[in-house]
């Protein structure tokens, strides 16, 4: 097995419990094939996403971070995803600014009915992450320097 194949990107996926989380379940029960690299963390709403979660995921060794929530207009809390859109845009810009590859962070709108879309989002993300290799810019190193 070559090194290229041995590398499996680790993704932390923050999924809104009202939509994307259910969407990922639907992908599962519909037996849609997609890469198993994403570790889902259910959040109450993308509006509750703190940039800190994203930085912390990278700090703890994630190769990519996905945030997925409800389509604009569909937020259970009316405006959570509008707030998330702004906040995540700023976070993404800041990550790009310091030289983190833009493909390390992704955001998507996936409703509870869009199992196929969820699978596609994850598949695309993994495909884009693979050529980047492991993320070591923001990863915590405990060893001696």
């Amino acid at each position: 097995m070559s090194e290229q194949q041995a590398y499996e990107p680790k993704v932390v996926a923050f999924l809104c419990k009202w939509c994307s989380s259910a969407g990922s379940d639907l992908a599962g029960v519909s037996r849609i094939q997609y890469p198993p690299n994403a570790t889902p963390i259910t959040i109450p709403c993308t509006g509750a996403m703190s940039p800190m979660y994203i930085l912390s995921a990278f700090n703890k060794g994630a190769d990519g971070v996905l945030v997925s929530g409800c389509h604009i207009g569909d937020c259970h809390y009316i405006e959570g995803n509008y707030l998330a859109r702004r906040k995540m845009h700023l976070t993404m810009e800041l990550l790009k600014f310091i030289g983190v590859e833009p493909d390390r962070f992704r955001m998507s709108w996936v409703s509870a009915a869009e199992g196929a879309k969820f699978a596609r989002v994850v598949t695309d993300f993994i495909n884009d992450l693979e050529p980047l290799g492991p993320q070591d810019k923001l990863k915590k190193v405990v060893a001696n320097d």
């Binding site: 915590k140 405990v142 060893a143 001696n144």
Partner: protein
């Protein structure tokens, strides 16, 4: 051992110190910092932004690694510093005097294996201050001198186109012997010039602590003085004064977890800082030093009273870093003077 070294030969001397990793002040990113060098040592710096204390007491020191596999006893592996031998060039006398003060804490008081493993591999090549490098120098007020050799292994004195080189310790002699052909014997005129330069250096006006000898007792009497609150009014509680200080040595110890299952990580020591609010925070939520006044009082008292009681010397060496670098102008010279002048 006293010799003369042509300034043009400094690089050759550095090159001859093959047993040592030589560090010297380099101006980078707008600040003077000790950096590894292989030549081109100019020693035209005022003083470095950070003191050289990090060579023996780095900001982060790993003690041991730990690993716990379920069902097995925890595995601890001590990690001793594998530091090269460091020769630090251009150490100012105040920072040199910081060295024995750190030794008091980590060598004489307790035997700190990590500190001592590093310490025995560091040699300090000092540079006397012909004139005060900072407007906030006050070494003369705290028992020091711009030509002090305390804590140094070799002392250089700038004599224009050459250095007067004096070996202070056996290590210093060995370092000079590594390139003995580069050094010349000082003439009577050289010695006379050195004497003059040193006399002029000591005569240069500096900032002044008015009663350094009376400070310990006067500070003790001023513990409840309302002046602390007044003096600390502007303090923002950052760590500049202590992190840049050549003698501040307080630290924190934490376990840094790399992996949760199986549990894996390292226990590390990092610099800590008495000016941070959480320095004395108890887990109950009570904080015995709950405001900036109590924290400033602690730092000043540690330097000028507690350390003096324990070791018979002021902990402060008068480098003036905390004065120059404080973002809001808190000035330890003024603080000590104001607090002590109010005591009879």
């Amino acid at each position: 051992m006293e010799k003369i070294l042509d300034k043009k030969q400094v690089d050759a001397w550095v090159a001859a110190l093959t047993d040592w990793e030589v560090h010297a002040p380099v101006l980078e990113d707008g600040i003077w910092a000790y950096q590894p060098v292989s030549g081109a040592v100019r020693l035209n710096h005022p003083n470095t932004k950070q003191s050289p204390k990090g060579f023996a007491f780095p900001q982060r020191e790993i003690f041991f690694s730990f690993e716990q596999i379920k069902g097995e006893p925890p595995k601890l592996t001590q990690i001793m510093p594998q530091a090269a031998r460091h020769a630090v060039f251009g150490v100012r006398p105040c920072d040199g005097r910081g060295v024995p003060r750190m030794d008091k804490v980590f060598t004489d008081h307790v035997d700190d294996p990590y500190y001592n493993a590093r310490r025995k591999n560091v040699a300090y090549v000092g540079l006397a201050c012909n004139k005060p490098p900072s407007p906030n120098c006050f070494c003369l007020s705290v028992g020091g001198s711009p030509v002090s050799t305390d804590g140094l292994d070799v002392q250089l004195t700038d004599m224009g186109d050459r250095y007067f080189v004096k070996a202070v310790t056996e290590t210093g002699k060995t370092m000079m012997a590594a390139a003995s052909s580069l050094f010349a014997e000082p003439s009577a005129a050289d010695k006379k010039q050195l004497k003059q330069i040193h006399a002029d250096a000591v005569a240069h006006p500096q900032r002044k602590i008015n009663d350094p000898d009376g400070a310990p007792a006067k500070l003790e009497a001023s513990f409840d003085s309302p002046l602390w609150e007044e003096m600390a009014r502007a303090c923002i509680g950052c760590g500049i004064c202590t992190f840049l200080c050549p003698t501040c040595h307080c630290f924190d110890i934490n376990d840094e977890v790399q992996n949760k299952a199986p549990l894996k990580g390292q226990r590390v020591r990092t610099w800590d800082n008495c000016q941070f609010p959480d320095f004395t925070m108890h887990s109950s939520g009570h904080n015995p030093r709950e405001n900036t006044a109590a924290r400033l009082r602690q730092r000043v008292n540690h330097k000028f009273q507690y350390f003096h009681k324990n070791f018979g010397m002021h902990q402060c060496t008068g480098c003036g870093r905390c004065v120059s670098e404080c973002p809001v102008g808190i000035d330890i010279v003024t603080v000590v003077n104001k607090v002590t002048e109010n005591v009879g």
